[in-house]
Structures are given as structure tokens and as C-alpha cells.
């Protein structure tokens, strides 16, 4: 009680800031904060001073100037007379497309490899071990360059498809061409297109919107059918047959919309120097996508394996004793519980994929790093502004992914009732 009394009686001395546990933590925090702010102030000061010495100002006006360069892969309308901001947006969308596609495929590959690595089949399990160890222990950049080099060096050029004495031919009834400039696949076309809506920044295809609505509606109706079947089963003990209704709804509605829009495929064909028509998946995209998929897939496989091993063996035995077959045991009992262990590290892997897309520069994939962080910075000389802007974009992107995944994690984690 002696010390508390001393404090209460107003006997405060400076030494107490360090020796009195009530103040110590506060003191340390304040001192640390001051040091941190001093360091930050020094950096800002130094930057401003040096920019002044170089005669450079700090301004983002360059974003509205015409970019002047072309970008090969464009998801939205773009030409070289549009602004640097627009070029940055094109790059950002390329980053997003690559990240999203790689996240989906890496998850699929990872889950399959992770489950198979636990297989009782010796050959399969060892093969998966080799896959995981080989891919996650070799730098990603090497995989990207390797795939890119294989695509460019060993595939035939478009000229090899030409003429009577063509040395290469298209695959799948002349619908797919694999060349050293990328893969050309058929594109969806609509005879009775609904046109597009201008959202100010970019155009949205109404055909796509209609198709998405159709799919969402079909899924919703299918759910209602299943719910009704369940209600009937609970009431009577007999589950009505629903499979044909499901097929009809899930397949029928989207197909009906496609037919109404006059859907058909546009095939790529050799015109002039290159293939035209169809969708062009460039080598750079394929190399990035494939490399990110197999590389990150190896990490996800380990996450999945860890998650499954974390579930007690008793759960499997309990499921078996209830008569569930191994496949259903995995899908209904093990994986749902394993997800709780798998998802937090999976978030990190998704963030890794998103950030690793910036390696695209190595193969000339025009992502955010190559447009804003590469050509724009180089042509305008705005290194500081460009880098800050790019960091901000990646930060926002990563935090958004993190938020969404955390929400999902909150939904699947154990709920204490």
C-alpha cells in the first residue's frame, strides 16, 4: 500500500515514469511514438528537400495527359490517345483478371493435390509429394520464364498454319490454334445483342448481365426446389425425385437466354499476318496464370493437408460407422471441419497471388506494374508519384481480399452456441 499512498499524497517524481509499473507502459509508448514521428518527419523533409534540389514538384497532373503508348491486352476500350489514368485502369483490370483466375485455379489444384497427398495409394501420394516439393521450392519467376520460353520457342508461328503445305493445324475442329504468340480460342458472339451500357468509366455488356441474371435465377429456383424436397422428406420420410427438375432449371434457363440472344461462337482464323477473330490468350497471360497456379497450388496443397490432418481420426471412423462412403466422408465430414484450419492461411496465399502478379513485367504482361509502374513512370518521370499510387492500389486490393476472406472465415468457423 505504501507506493499507492505516496502517489495519492501527491508525491510524484519523474523517476516514477520508468519505475512505476502504472506509468511505464505509457511512457514507453509515448517515447516510441515520438521517435516514429520524428523518423517520418525526417523522411518527408528529406524527400521534399531533395525533390526541390532536383527541381521536381509533386503532382498527379500527369495522370490526365495522353498516355501515347498502346497496350495489347485490353478489357476495356483503350487507345494511345487516352490518358495515363485510363492506361493505369487497363493495367489494373489485367492484374485483377490474372489474380482472380489464378486464385480459382490454384485453389482447385491445391485442394486436389492436398487431398491426394494423403491418399493410401502409394504412387499417387508420392507423386503429389514430388509436385509440392518441386514447385514450392523453386522461385516463381523461374517457372514463369520457363513456361513463357516453352510457349514462345516450341509452338509454331502463325505462318506455319498457312497455305497448302501447312506444317501445323488447328485443334478441335479448327476452333483452337496454339501458336507461339498465344492460344486462340473461340469467342462468344451474340446475333441479337442487347448492346452495352455506358457506366462513365467503361462499357458493360448487357448480354453478360442477362446471362449472369439467368444463372443466378436458375440457382435460386433450384434451391427452392431442393428446399421443398427436403420439407416433403421431413414430413413424409420419402424424398421426391428432383434431379430432372434441377437439370431442367439449371441447364434450361441459361440455354434459353443464350438462344434468345442468338449465341454462337466466333472462330479464330488466319488473316494476314496473324489470327483474327476468337479470343487471344497471350503467352504472357498463359505463362503467368499457369505459373501462379502450380506454384501457389503447391502451398495451398500443404494448407489443405494440414487442415485435414488436424481433424481427429475419430471423425472419419464415426462417419464410416454411420455407413458413409470415403468420398462422402471427405465432402460432408472432413472438409467442412478442415476449412476452419485451411482458410486463414489460404487468405495469405490469395494475397501472395495478387502481389506476385507484379512479376508480369518479366514476360511483358501488361498489368498495373507494367503500365503505371513501368511505361507511365518512364515516359513522365514521375517515379515517386507513380510508386506511391501503385502501392496504394495494391494495398487497397490486398485489404479488400483480406476483408472478404475474413468475412467468409467468420461464417465457417466454429460457432459456440
Amino acid at each position: 500500500m505504501g507506493r499507492a499512498d505516496a502517489a495519492a499524497s501527491g508525491g510524484f517524481s519523474l523517476g516514477m515514469l520508468i519505475y512505476d509499473t502504472r506509468y511505464r507502459s505509457l511512457t514507453i509508448q509515448i517515447v516510441f511514438l515520438m521517435l516514429f514521428m520524428a523518423a517520418a518527419a525526417w523522411l518527408v523533409e528529406n524527400t521534399i528537400e531533395n525533390l526541390e534540389a532536383l527541381g521536381k514538384d509533386f503532382s498527379f497532373r500527369f495522370l490526365s495527359a495522353p498516355a501515347g503508348y498502346d497496350i495489347n491486352q485490353r478489357l476495356i476500350d483503350y487507345n494511345n490517345q487516352m490518358s495515363h489514368a485510363r492506361a493505369m485502369l487497363v493495367g489494373l483490370l489485367n492484374t485483377l483478371v490474372l489474380a482472380a483466375a489464378a486464385c480459382v485455379t490454384a485453389t482447385i489444384v491445391g485442394v486436389i493435390a492436398g487431398v491426394l497427398r494423403l491418399s493410401r495409394n502409394w504412387v499417387v501420394a508420392r507423386l503429389m509429394t514430388v509436385y509440392v516439393e518441386a514447385f514450392r521450392n523453386i522461385p516463381l519467376l523461374l517457372w514463369i520464364l520457363l513456361i513463357f520460353a516453352v510457349m514462345t520457342e516450341s509452338m509454331p508461328p502463325p505462318a506455319a498454319f498457312r497455305g497448302e503445305a501447312a506444317t501445323s493445324s488447328m485443334l478441335l475442329f479448327d476452333s483452337v490454334a496454339i501458336t507461339n504468340r498465344g492460344v486462340y480460342v473461340p469467342e462468344p458472339l451474340f446475333d441479337r445483342s442487347l448492346g452495352t451500357v455506358d457506366l462513365g468509366i467503361f462499357l458493360v455488356s448487357l448480354d453478360l448481365v442477362a446471362l449472369i441474371i439467368a444463372v443466378v435465377a436458375a440457382v435460386a429456383i433450384n434451391r427452392a426446389i431442393l428446399r421443398r424436397a427436403e420439407a416433403v422428406q421431413n414430413l413424409t420420410g420419402i424424398r421426391p425425385t428432383t434431379w430432372w427438375q434441377s437439370i431442367l432449371v439449371l441447364g434450361g434457363i441459361p440455354v434459353a437466354v443464350l438462344v434468345a440472344l442468338g449465341f454462337h461462337l466466333g472462330f479464330p482464323e488466319l488473316k494476314g499476318l496473324n489470327f483474327s477473330g476468337g479470343t487471344h490468350l497471350r503467352n504472357s497471360l498463359i505463362a503467368m496464370w499457369l505459373a501462379l497456379t502450380i506454384y501457389t497450388g503447391a502451398f495451398i496443397a500443404e494448407n489443405v493437408r494440414a487442415g485435414i490432418l488436424a481433424i481427429s481420426r475419430g471423425q472419419t471412423e464415426a462417419a464410416f460407422s454411420l455407413g458413409l462412403r470415403p468420398g462422402r466422408t471427405m465432402n460432408l465430414v472432413i472438409l467442412p471441419q478442415a476449412l476452419r484450419v485451411i482458410i486463414p492461411p489460404l487468405i495469405s496465399q490469395y494475397l501472395n497471388i495478387t502481389k506476385n502478379t507484379s512479376l508480369a513485367l518479366a514476360v511483358g504482361y501488361m498489368d498495373l506494374r507494367s503500365t503505371l509502374g513501368g511505361i507511365t513512370i518512364n515516359q513522365t518521370g514521375r517515379e515517386l508519384e507513380g510508386m506511391l499510387l501503385m502501392m496504394l492500389v495494391y494495398l487497397v486490393l490486398s485489404l479488400s481480399i483480406s476483408t472478404v476472406m475474413n468475412i467468409y472465415n467468420a461464417r465457417v468457423k466454429i460457432k459456440e452456441r
Binding site: 514462345t152 505462318a159 494476314g272 518512364n378 515517386l384 506511391l388
Partner: protein, 338 residues
């Protein structure tokens, strides 16, 4: 997390801008070495030879500057830069000068805060295609896939050329000349475009140079020259006048063979002033009297440098063309040494 990112950005900026103020000449003398930014390898202009020594037309400028300032053409540290990193490397002080086939443009001179001190090669952008494509003019390139080094003026010229001629193309962005060569030879692109001199240099390195043609259209003006940071006039003058000394030496017939003789004194006062036998021009720039003599001894005069690295007797085989002396119908012209 946000704070650490900001801190990182500022650290980066601080590093970038940290070393750019002091007088370059003093820095170079204290270091005993000129840091010279060169390309990652363009035959004839700047590329390491079999023994790892840097050789070439641009490299010769670096060596001449080192000889003028430090008295030894070997005292150069070559820093390889790509099209994208070169100006940042210069602005940040990582290199003292660039001699790296960089095009002098208005915005680079003013907006990027650089100073182009002269032109050592007058060039223009061209196109190279494989002969078997049967193309004889750049106007026939509609729909072509074009390999292009990113971060260059050629990238912007290319966009303009195709837009003006109402043609479409597919750009394949590439970082270095070596990658471009590989992509072009694998026929992942139909066309490779860069400065005509670069095309000639690249073609010379092919196994079958006769199967590739450079199309007749030259679509731009590309004055290539050494670059220094804006704001250090003394250093800019040293690099500028070193270059002029090489050109003037050719004009007055001073060669690496006869320079010792000439330095003893000639009847031409201009040569005498340049080589330091008369007056003291070097002191005006903060150098000694024999600076120009050493610069010329490093690799010969402009004509000799041209002939040994990229001239008609080399595999690259470039004609003097615009780069002949003004007395022979070209554009190379040095102001008087007076």
C-alpha cells in the same frame, strides 16, 4: 500496415533523391571512377567483349570522359540499365552519365530534369522483318505483331505511326535488346522495331543476317547522345566538350596515331588550344590542360571510334550518313575551341 507502407515509400524516395546534389566532378575525382550507364548489351554500341571488357561506340564516350577527368580510360564503372531504369539511375545519382543510345526529346530534357549534352549518333526508328514474309514497306504491316522495348521513344513513335496510317498492330513489350532478339528469332513477333542503328547491330549478331531486311521507312528522328543530370553545368560541360573534342579532332585530322606529334605544337592554333599546347582551356572547366588529348587518345577521334565499332568494315556495317562531319555533308559539327 498503412503507416509502414507509407514509411517504405518515403524511405525509397529518400534513397532515390538522397545523393543527387553535390558537384559531380568532385564526386568522380574522390571516387576515382566514372559511373557510366550503358545498355544491357547492343553489339557495337555497348557490349562486353569475350574477355568481359566493355566495348563499343557509346562505351568510347564514357572512356573518353574518364580519360579527360581522371587520366585513365579504364577508370569507368559500367552500370547496365534497361530502357525503363536508365533515367531513374541517372536522376538518383547511381550513374554520373548515360551513354546509352537515348533519344534527346523535349520532355526528357525538361520534364525529366535531364540534360542531353550533344548527339553522338543521329538515328531514326526503323523496322526489321524476315525476308520470307515478302514485305517491302512498313505500310504493309497492318495486323502485325511488333516487338518493342518498353520505356523508349520508339514505343510512342510506333503508336503514332500505326495510328496515323490507320493500321492496327499487336505490341509485345520487351525489356532488353537480347530478349527482343530471342522473341523475334522465335517468330513470336513479325517485326522488331528500334533505332535503325540498333537493328543493324542486332542483325549482325544473327546466324543468318542475310534473311532479314530493314524496311526503307525511317519513321522518326532519334538523336542519340550522352545524358547528365540537370543542374550541374560544370559536369555537363565536361561531357559535352569531351564529345566535341572527339568530333573536332576528326575535323582537324588529329588521330590516335599522330596525336603525340601534334601535341608538340602545330601551325593550326585551334589544334594547339585543344591539345593544351597553347592557352589553358582545361582550367576553365576545372580540368588540366591535357584533358582533350587524353580523351582522344582513349579511343581515337570520332571517325576512328565510328570505324572501329560500327563502321562499314565491322559486321554491323553502318555508313556514316548523317553522322559524317559537316564538311562531308553530315551533321557532326563541333563549336570552335577558343
Amino acid at each position: 500496415m498503412k503507416k509502414s507502407a507509407l514509411l517504405g515509400a518515403l524511405t525509397f524516395a529518400g534513397l532515390v533523391a538522397g545523393t543527387a546534389s553535390a558537384a559531380t566532378l568532385d564526386d568522380v575525382k574522390a571516387r576515382g571512377e566514372v559511373n557510366c550507364g550503358v545498355s544491357t548489351g547492343v553489339n557495337g554500341f555497348s557490349a562486353p567483349d569475350a574477355s568481359g571488357e566493355w566495348q563499343g561506340f557509346d562505351v568510347a564516350v564514357c572512356r573518353a570522359v574518364a580519360a579527360a577527368v581522371l587520366g585513365d580510360p579504364k577508370k569507368v564503372k559500367f552500370v547496365t540499365t534497361t530502357g525503363q531504369t536508365r533515367f531513374t539511375a541517372l536522376a538518383s545519382g547511381e550513374v554520373d552519365m548515360l551513354a546509352r543510345n537515348s533519344t534527346w526529346t523535349y520532355s526528357r530534357d525538361n520534364d525529366l530534369k535531364l540534360d542531353f549534352v550533344g548527339v553522338n549518333y543521329y538515328d531514326g526508328q526503323g523496322f526489321m522483318v524476315n525476308k520470307d514474309m515478302g514485305i517491302s514497306s512498313a505500310k504493309e504491316l497492318n495486323g502485325a505483331t511488333v516487338c518493342i522495348q518498353t520505356g523508349t521513344t520508339t514505343e510512342l513513335n510506333l503508336a503514332d505511326f500505326f495510328r496515323v496510317n490507320n493500321m492496327s498492330y499487336e505490341p509485345v513489350p520487351i525489356e532488353t535488346n537480347a530478349e527482343a532478339q530471342q522473341q523475334y528469332l522465335a517468330r513470336a513477333c513479325d517485326v522488331y522495331t528500334t533505332d535503325a542503328s540498333g537493328l543493324a547491330a542486332t542483325r549482325a549478331a544473327f546466324a543468318d543476317p542475310e534473311n532479314h531486311i530493314i524496311l526503307p521507312e525511317i519513321i522518326s528522328k532519334e538523336p542519340l547522345g550522352p545524358v547528365v543530370r540537370h543542374g550541374d553545368n560544370q559536369w555537363a560541360d565536361i561531357v559535352r566538350w569531351t564529345l566535341y573534342a572527339l568530333v573536332a579532332a576528326e575535323e582537324y585530322g588529329v588521330t590516335s596515331a599522330n596525336i603525340e606529334e601534334m601535341a608538340k605544337g602545330t601551325t593550326n592554333p585551334e589544334i594547339n588550344r585543344m591539345l593544351g599546347t597553347e592557352g589553358d582551356l582545361g582550367a576553365m572547366m576545372g580540368l588540366d590542360a591535357k584533358w582533350a588529348m587524353r580523351a582522344i587518345q582513349a579511343g581515337g577521334n570520332y571517325g576512328e571510334i565510328f570505324a572501329t565499332n560500327i563502321g562499314e568494315s565491322t559486321p554491323i556495317g553502318l555508313a556514316r550518313g548523317l553522322n559524317a562531319l559537316w564538311t562531308q555533308g553530315g551533321l557532326q559539327y563541333a563549336p570552335p575551341f577558343r
